[in-house]
Subunit: 251 residues, 2 copies
Amino acid sequence: MIASALAERVLSGELRADDRLPSERHLAVEFGASRQVVREALRSLVERGLIDVEPGRGAYVHGDNGPRRFPPLDLEYRRRGSTARHLSEARLMLETEAAVLAAQHAEAHDLAVLERTLDRLDASVTPLDRVRGDLAFHSALVAASHNPVIETMFGSIQGLTVELMVRSAGDPETVRRSGPHHRLLFEAIRDRDPEAARRTIRAHLGIAASTYGDDYDQSLDTTAAHALRLIGSGAGLETFLRAILPDHPGA
Amino acid sequence: MIASALAERVLSGELRADDRLPSERHLAVEFGASRQVVREALRSLVERGLIDVEPGRGAYVHGDNGPRRFPPLDLEYRRRGSTARHLSEARLMLETEAAVLAAQHAEAHDLAVLERTLDRLDASVTPLDRVRGDLAFHSALVAASHNPVIETMFGSIQGLTVELMVRSAGDPETVRRSGPHHRLLFEAIRDRDPEAARRTIRAHLGIAASTYGDDYDQSLDTTAAHALRLIGSGAGLETFLRAILPDHPGA
DNA sequence: TGGTCATACCGGTCAGACCACTGTACAGTA
DNA sequence: TACTGTACAGTGGTCTGACCGGTATGACCA
């Protein structure tokens, strides 16, 4: 009840991004409840991404400033028995559409970001760098589509996408063959050539999919375990993932 | 901390669907914390959909039985300023891919469900019936893709899709022109013809997109308001939505 | 004017108590 | 012996009051 009422304040615009909510003690008085109940309600709102709570300062409506986290759906996908094939199919769908739209809608700022991520990717040395750079490039590509629905859907697979990228980054042959696609993709978008963009992204992700072999129709957990073996990393995937997506809730 | 530890138990399979969690008092002892802190952690898990809490009985791991709700992302899409165009583009992307995959992977059960929803759609009389039937058909189509990632993404726009469908259902010309596509789509899938499936779904959704006119690049809120005017419904969209998706959290 | 300290307020947590609900076991009655 | 009702243990839901560490502001002093 309290959670719903407060959520309504946020959703209705009564409270705006970065606004401070009344204190727990004030809310307890206002709703005629104990502070504990208020805290539980606030916890719900935190979990829904509507607010952020800062100890000693108060609770604030989640800001529109800075990079917004995408609602990750790793859990949902895992629980539905998704395989590497399912994920790859979905990723191909998203990035193909995004590339085509980017070739139509990308603005100067988008191109600058894309080029910057390209430079960074070219300068990558370690697998961690390469995965970071790869993710940045593909995220910039999807952002250049200027379709927030598609972007959000891509964000929902971001953590799992990192696992795919770990796999690709661990195979030198894959890196060698698919590497040039990044630049070609950028050029297709810069030159407003949707068909070239489509062909390039499909070729690019097709190569990544070919690294799977017997794992392609295995569950995502199996896939992730093998990914780290490929890059010979001593750390667990969780640690690796945190290095790349610090805000990502544990999968 | 406690929330993470418990989530891990659920995700690791240590606790399975419908298993009962230890009581709050037991968890408080186990984690050396107060019951209040345990309750807040449990509230987080509830909000994440991992568990259900039943007063007087205890907390249970969310069951795998019965129809699973898709995590709706209406709020996220609205807050990112999505328009009817963005939603339509994403929907076209999802359903095109789903139709192609369905033509490759649909099984006898899928075809039976599709045909049943077709019959129901043909028998529709009121706008409510038509929207219900339309949603059922398109959901069955996406399910026939046998890709849980794509299905989940489609589910994330389900509430907003209903709003699109309300719009189409309110225009007799749109209903007349796009109606036959449903049967054609079914036949393409039955006959294992991905290209026909692709063409048909694109034509089908293209007609729906043409009902927008000036609203196409307006925010989704504007679009929804106009939708109900088209069908001359006395009820608000919220009521209409609830009649179709009873479990849908308020948008 | 800048630095330090005190105070008010913030969220985080604890302990203990009480309430309504749920389920099981046992006693009483037909 | 079988059925029904009651009591009790256990459940989650909530309240009250207290204490802790962190934050921010204002007052005072050098």
